[in-house]
Amino acid sequence: MLTKRIIPCLDIKNGRTVKGVNFVDLRDAGDPVELAKQYAKLGADELVFLDISATLEGRKTMHDMVLKVAEQVNIPFTVGGGISSIEDVDDLLHCGADKVSINSSAVKRPELINELSNKFGSQCVVVAIDAKQIDDEWVVHLAGGTIPTALNLFTWAKEVEHRGAGEILFTSMNNDGTKAGFANEALAKLSEMVNIPIIASGGAGTVQHFVDTFNEGKADAALAASVFHFGEIEILDLKRELKTNNIEVRL
């Protein structure tokens, strides 16, 4: 049976992990490659690297990092951040990334999704959607939730599926950083509406939140950052607990 995936997300700036990481047995917690290897060993099913470098030079170091991760890590990983063309994707896949995640560039030019899935296959195209619930509507936002668009989350999700996305990474800006749980109602609606896998993101604080997002939110995978980086939740413990709750995981 296909299992639910647990995905730690690492923010990368100029080739280094950004958010503080509190791992006891790492020589260099700022080194994304070390961290990725550790996570693979601890039972992570997949990894996401989000490049938040603002400069061209920073982006170039990203390529070196991707190459090193591909060399040393034996689980799949996705790279996102600042990807806006076929060439960008070609470069990253050549460095050994398994999937790429696009966000603003897809909103600005939706045809990019078609182009990427036609050229590289939908299996490597993840469309990340950041949305905020304003009154009763889920509004798609850009630039880390700061700029609202005219798009509705569900309409946009349906469109990205039609255009060939292989997966949707949905971050609720209302839940992100709160550690109060995932946006399960919106997630469940999303998951029933589209026929591609949904990764839940934003709001992970406790093990129960993960149980809820798989049961109530019907998510196919759950992504989190700080609860893993600071060791608040151990991935193996989390997966054992999910298993106890009859949620299929890889152990």
């Binding site: 995936r5 034996n74 799949p76 050549h94 398994d98 296959g121 299996q123 896998p197």
Partner: protein
């Protein structure tokens, strides 16, 4: 050990090369018939769309060469599917190495299947030291039907062949290069065949 990864322009083959490197083997990337023929072991990868991948194979004459190879050949993901008789993807005739057809998952399940699933009914030396119901990483929208050449099956919508064997030819639907320790074991086993 002379391992050659068939490089015909279809997909992310760097990961496979790196996986062998982690096992201490420098695998060579090539689309040259003489290099492929001289290999001890051949890896036939593939990611992307079937009909265009088959077109690329034909352009380099590899569609003729691969079925005639005598050394162990391992098809991975789309590589495995192209070794079958026929695939519904792009209505594509395959290499006919495995006597089975490839079909699309229906809308009953999410497509692509993406993530870790178990492999069971393990039969071949390819799975030596790998436990029944071990997890492997898969990403695919099409599947080979369960058949007499299946050496592993998995369940997604239905029970399908997640690995195949016929003489010196092997195929796996999952990505051993991305399947953690179990995947590494499978690649080690392949090197020993």
């Amino acid at each position: 050990m002379n391992v050659v990864i068939v490089d015909y322009g279809a997909g992310n083959i760097k990961s496979i090369q790196f996986a062998f490197k982690r096992l201490g083997v420098d695998a060579v990337l090539s689309n040259k018939p003489e290099v492929i023929k001289a290999a001890d072991k051949v890896i036939f990868p593939g990611v992307g769309e079937a009909s265009s991948a088959m077109e690329m194979l034909k352009q380099s004459g590899l569609d003729e060469l691969i079925p005639k190879l005598k050394q162990p050949v391992l098809g991975i993901c789309l590589g495995m599917q192209l070794m079958c008789n026929y695939t519904e993807e792009g209505n594509t005739k395959g290499l006919g190495i495995f006597d089975v057809n490839v079909k699309r998952f229906s809308k009953v399940v999410k497509v692509p299947q993406m993530g870790w699933n178990t492999v069971k009914n393990l039969k071949s030396d390819l799975f030596k030291g790998i436990n029944e119901a071990e997890f492997m990483y898969l990403v695919h929208s099409y599947y080979a039907e369960n058949c007499s050449e299946a050496i592993a099956t998995s369940d997604y919508e239905l029970e399908y062949a997640s690995a195949l064997e016929n003489d010196n030819f092997y195929g796996v639907q999952f990505h051993p290069e991305k399947s953690s320790v179990a995947g590494e074991q499978l690649l080690k086993n392949f090197l020993k065949l």
